[in-house]
């Protein structure tokens, strides 16, 4: 049996310490990274490719769900948190297990057993089809979009986003002059954003309503949205209906 390569992600040193201690008793695991926040976790996944993340939920910058959203296709995840209210969501996003702090070594090893089994069946980690990750807290719209760029992570506040354009399997998030590519269907992202604010004006365009300067008639029955910075976006007929409802 190959050794399970694990990255520990927790912003609290004592919490990392206890994981290290529990894991040291198991000769079949190897700790390949210890991360104190979500950014480090994404970097670790990119650089050392662990099999499994032991992931805290409440962390600065990127929370555990956001980390999972960014790297969940490459690595299996076991959550470890003091908050039981995330459990349901954790399983929805196909976490392997959910450890409630404080937990004992037995409970951790049980989770590792499940992870081993899961990884043996499915060595490439969860397939993209399984993973429709929703980083949104229940009942709330996301207020920032996390985008991974190799080992780097961009965190963009949604109110800074001008519009989002679909490009095949990706979306291109336009923030001023910058375009950030994220591997996620536009419809997925649309579901996570406040519908009072982000309007699907076209099959390929999701616009921040705050950026709209005016609507212009381009041809008979076809309109364009002119943004405050002068950029123009096409508006489909159903997009126009949605816009009219909001304006």
């Amino acid at each position: 049996m190959t050794r399970l390569r694990i990255a520990i992600v927790d912003d609290e040193a004592p919490a990392r310490q206890v994981l290290r201690e529990y894991l040291s008793a198991d000769p079949d695991v190897e700790i390949v990274a210890e991360c104190a926040n979500g950014f480090e976790a994404v970097k670790a996944v990119t650089e050392v490719h662990p099999d499994l993340l032991l992931l805290d939920v409440q962390m600065p910058k990127l929370n555990g769900f956001e980390v999972l959203q960014l790297v969940g296709r490459e690595v299996a995840v076991v959550f470890a948190t003091a908050y039981d209210e995330y459990a349901l969501r954790a399983f929805e996003v196909h976490a392997i297990d959910y450890l409630l702090k404080p937990f004992g070594a037995d409970r951790l090893h049980e989770a590792l057993g499940v992870a081993r089994k899961r990884l043996a069946q499915n060595p490439g980690g969860p397939t993209p089809g399984q993973l429709t990750v929703d980083a949104r807290p229940p009942g709330a719209w996301i207020s920032r979009i996390v985008i991974r760029d190799g080992a780097n992570v961009h965190v963009v506040a949604t109110d800074k986003v001008d519009y989002i354009e679909a490009q095949d399997d990706y979306v291109s998030v336009k923030v001023g002059d910058r375009s950030l590519l994220k591997e996620q269907p536009l419809t997925d992202l649309e579901r996570q954003l406040d519908p009072q604010r982000f309007v699907r004006i076209h099959r390929s365009f999701l616009m921040n309503l705050d950026r709209l300067a005016r609507l212009e008639l381009a041809a008979k029955d076809s309109r364009v949205a002119v943004l405050k910075d002068g950029r123009q976006l096409p508006v489909s007929r159903s997009g126009y209906t949605r816009l009219k409802e909001l304006l």
Binding site: D11, Q17, Y83
Partner: protein
């Protein structure tokens, strides 16, 4: 609310007693003036009619409350009302007795003689009624105040319990237990230390929660204890900076106001920052007031902006304790969150 009529008990007493007084008010001057006994019924009825202005005395008393008005004003108001009552009653009597004079001639005949004593009696009865009204109203008010105070006390207790529940935040406890379980492996002495600190903190906060007021220094200690425990989890990410004026330690304040504020500062501030930061607590004294400032850095991009429950709780407690005299002001700018609390100064604990 009439002090007599709206209480069934007093109403009954009035109905039993007043016929005697009313009859007396008419009959005594009548006998004195030498009227004929057979005509007494006409005079007695007239006397009973005095019951109306006597009951109305309550409204005059309400117009000049004895607790808040100038004593002279009370005296003048009541005397004037008594004179008017007596005058009106006499005039009504003159008309009434003239009307019934065919059946009972003697009262109208002696009326001029009985005017003075009857007026005096009426005025005295009116004043007596006023005195009774004042006494009853004062008693009622005292009772109402006592009831209100009890209500406020129950409210405060309730708020304290709520605060206590909110404060014994289960996640704080779970995270601490997790830290302890970690320390048991790496540093048994440290684990024991943390157990002791946790126990001390909970004991202190339970004790504080049971009290209405505690010394400001105890409040500050409690907040500090809380932060010290959090520091075991957060390590160097959590800095603590307390600046408490020297002359405020003995000042009483409602228990468990500061701890929720520093707890917020950690949960929604320090915990959101990779490199952490410092929680500042500053207590200063101004003329007649104590000012508390709690400040912490936070990550403005963080989704985990508090739900505001902690602050709402503190605000509610201030409201029940001080009404509009205390203020709580929260502002966030430039990635710093500041809470300013100002409470009126009370005597030493």
């Amino acid at each position: 609310m009439h002090p007599v009529l709206s209480h069934p008990h007093r109403r009954r007493l009035f109905i039993i007693l007043w016929p005697l007084f009313g009859a007396g008010a008419g009959l005594l001057p009548f006998w004195w003036a030498g009227g004929q006994l057979g005509d007494a019924w006409a005079v007695a009825l007239w006397g009973e009619a005095l019951g109306l202005p006597v009951l109305a005395a309550a409204y005059v008393c309400r117009a000049a409350p004895i607790t808040t008005s100038d004593p002279w004003r009370v005296l003048v108001t009541i005397s004037l009302a008594a004179l008017i009552t007596a005058g009106l009653w006499l005039e009504a009597g003159r008309a009434w007795l003239w009307l019934v004079s065919p059946a009972a001639p003697s009262p109208y005949a002696v009326f001029p003689t009985m005017t003075m004593p009857a007026a005096l009696g009426a005025a005295l009865l009116f004043m007596l009624a006023s005195a009774v009204n004042y006494t009853l109203t004062a008693g009622d008010e005292r009772q109402a105040v006592a009831a209100r105070m009890l209500q406020a006390e129950i409210g405060a207790r309730d708020a304290e319990l709520r605060a206590l529940r909110a404060q014994v935040n289960p996640h704080f406890l779970f995270n601490c237990l997790h830290s302890i379980s970690s320390l048991i492996g790496s540093s048994p002495a440290g684990a024991r230390q943390m157990c002791i600190e946790l126990a001390d903190f909970f004991r202190e906060s339970l004790r504080a929660g049971a009290q209405n007021r505690i010394a400001l220094s105890s409040e500050v200690d409690l907040a500090r204890r809380y932060l010290e425990i959090e520091r075991l989890r957060f390590g160097s990410r959590l800095g603590i900076n307390f600046q408490v004026a020297d002359d405020v330690g003995d000042i009483p304040m409602p228990a468990l106001l500061l701890q929720p504020l520093v707890e917020n500062a950690v949960r929604h501030g320090i915990a959101t920052l990779v490199d952490g930061g410092t929680v500042t607590l500053e207590v200063t004294r101004h003329t007649g007031r104590i000012a508390v400032r709690v400040e912490n850095p936070f990550d403005p991009d963080e989704e985990r902006h508090g739900t505001g429950i902690g602050l709402k709780n503190v605000r509610a407690r201030l409201e029940t304790t001080y009404g509009p005299l205390a203020t709580l002001h929260a502002e966030s700018n430039d990635a710093r969150f500041t809470v300013l609390l100002s409470i009126p100064l009370e005597g030493p604990a």
